[in-house]
């Protein structure tokens, strides 16, 4: 997530409670992060669209990615 933010010239806040909208982490950034995870795993991910609506903070993103990696 930090790499995505850095590539956009922004910094990832230290707090997991940081609101994604406030730090400007948009759907394009989330999609990029997902592709980075795919590249890391070497496999296409199957995203659960309803679950995405619950992702509002930095911590939610990290949890979600962790779930994907362990799935």
């Amino acid at each position: 997530m930090g790499e995505v933010m850095t590539a956009q010239g922004r910094a990832l806040p230290a707090e997991d409670t940081a609101d994604l909208r406030e730090i400007g982490f948009r759907s394009l950034d989330f999609s990029e992060l997902a592709l980075r995870v795919e590249d890391e795993l070497g496999d296409e991910l199957n995203f659960d669209a309803p679950g995405l609506r619950r992702i509002a903070t930095v911590g939610d993103v990290l949890d979600f990615i962790e779930q994907l990696q362990s799935a």
Binding site: L28, A34, D39, L45
Partner: protein
């Protein structure tokens, strides 16, 4: 069409033809045994392809010539069922399954198959000879795969005009073509943008040593970056790009060193010798006097265009060029042009990648310019961010070690 046997006077029959390092002429090329007609002649070298073409020109046979690798078993069967005897590189002949009367003088081309299986397009030597005005004496490089439209363009020029020599480049010689071209005094060369990019990438100094008076690009979208790079290496050479295909023939020829063509060329009054260009939706539509058999009238080219000021840019194939990122549309060709405008990029391919939330994202493969030091994906993302809307910025960029190139000299950008 006429059933009369052609006895075309081959004005270029004594032009020099260099094959595998040997200096011959059209007339002294190895003679092929009497070919059946109709015949699909499958070759594994450029000299035999030229010999098959000359045989066709002299005897007026019905001919399809292609490299052996482009015609798979299924297509050979289809050709046999359509009345073609199949002639293999070793001279062996599989008779046609369908017996029919030949179409005298018919030359068949296979499309590149970029939108599916290759199609057969009918032409004649006359319809393929689009350069009819007297030309200055030149020696042409022939790097194209035998049987493609671009190959026919160069070889018919050499066969029908005086003082138009040929230097044939076999696939195994592609990496060293500037050396061969310099050795044999090549003054004119036609190739895809990928072909020219590779030449610059491999050894720009060797390329600069070729005494080129004419450079032609075609077969793929031509971007400003490659035109500028060639202009820098060849300040006084005429640099042209051509839009041509088996279906519509050579339809757009641009000599002003700029990508795209003037918008004023659209919808001009019909002229017997000049194609009529128009745009329907985003698609380039052409009515061409050089069209293939049966393709009369407006042909939808399947190529996508965008306007850039007073220019019309051909950005890529309709079915792959437009990338829909969460409802916002961006042209892969436009993104590619931006990437290739970066001095550290030698080649780029841009494509859509499936992604959550937005459906598709823009991704890219890039070959960096080795002479300018390392670049990172962050460098390129920042470069693109100042030149493209955010949804058009390629977020995932993979670096490749070399420029991919197919037998057709294209790289499927």
């Amino acid at each position: 069409m006429s059933t009369r046997r052609r006895t075309t006077a081959l004005i270029g029959d004594d032009n020099t033809v260099v094959v595998a390092g040997k200096r011959l002429t059209w007339r002294t090329l190895r003679k092929l045994p009497q070919l059946p007609s109709p015949a699909a002649v499958l070759v594994d070298n450029g000299a035999d392809a030229l010999a098959a073409l000359r045989h066709h020109a002299v005897h007026g046979t019905e001919l399809l010539v292609a490299t052996e690798s482009r015609v798979d078993e299924r297509m050979r069967e289809e050709l046999g069922e359509s009345g073609f005897a199949i002639v293999l590189p070793d001279g062996s002949v599989t008779p046609a399954r369908l017996k029919r009367v030949e179409e005298s003088g018919r030359a068949w081309l296979l499309t590149s198959g970029s939108t599916g299986r290759p199609k057969r397009i009918g032409h004649t030597l006359e319809s393929l000879t689009t350069v009819t005005a007297d030309q200055p004496p030149r020696t042409w490089l022939l790097p194209y795969s035998p049987g493609t439209y671009a190959w026919w363009q160069v070889v018919t020029l050499s066969l029908t005009q005086a003082d138009q020599g040929l230097v044939v480049i076999e696939p195994s010689e592609l990496e060293d073509w500037p050396k061969i071209a310099t050795e044999h005094g090549v003054t004119a060369a036609s190739g895809t943008p990928t072909f020219w990019r590779q030449a610059i990438y491999r050894d720009a100094d060797a390329l600069a040593g070729v005494p080129l008076e004419q450079i032609t690009l075609g077969g793929e979208p031509v971007d400003q970056a490659i035109l500028d790079q060639l202009r820098e290496i060849f300040p006084t050479t005429r640099i042209s790009w051509i839009y041509a295909s088996s279906e519509v023939g050579a339809s757009i020829v641009v000599h002003d060193g700029k990508a795209g063509f003037p918008r004023s060329w659209l919808d001009r009054d019909p002229h017997p010798e000049r194609p009529v260009l128009s745009v329907e939706g985003d698609e380039l539509v052409i009515r061409s006097p050089h069209h293939g058999a049966g393709l009369i009238g407006a042909i939808r080219t399947g190529d996508r265009v965008e306007y850039d000021g007073d220019r019309v840019l051909i950005t890529g194939r309709l079915d792959t060029d437009e990338i829909n990122v969460g409802g916002s549309k961006v042209s892969a060709g436009v993104v590619r042009n931006v990437l290739m405008g970066h001095p550290g990029v030698s080649w780029a391919r841009v494509f859509a990648r499936k992604a959550p939330l937005v459906g598709r994202m823009v991704a890219a493969e890039v070959v960096p310019n080795r002479s300018l030091g390392p670049i990172t994906d962050t460098d390129l993302v920042q470069w693109c961010s100042t030149r493209l809307p955010d949804y058009g910025v390629p977020r995932r960029i993979k670096f490749l070690d070399q420029i991919p190139q197919k037998e057709t000299l294209k790289s499927d950008v």
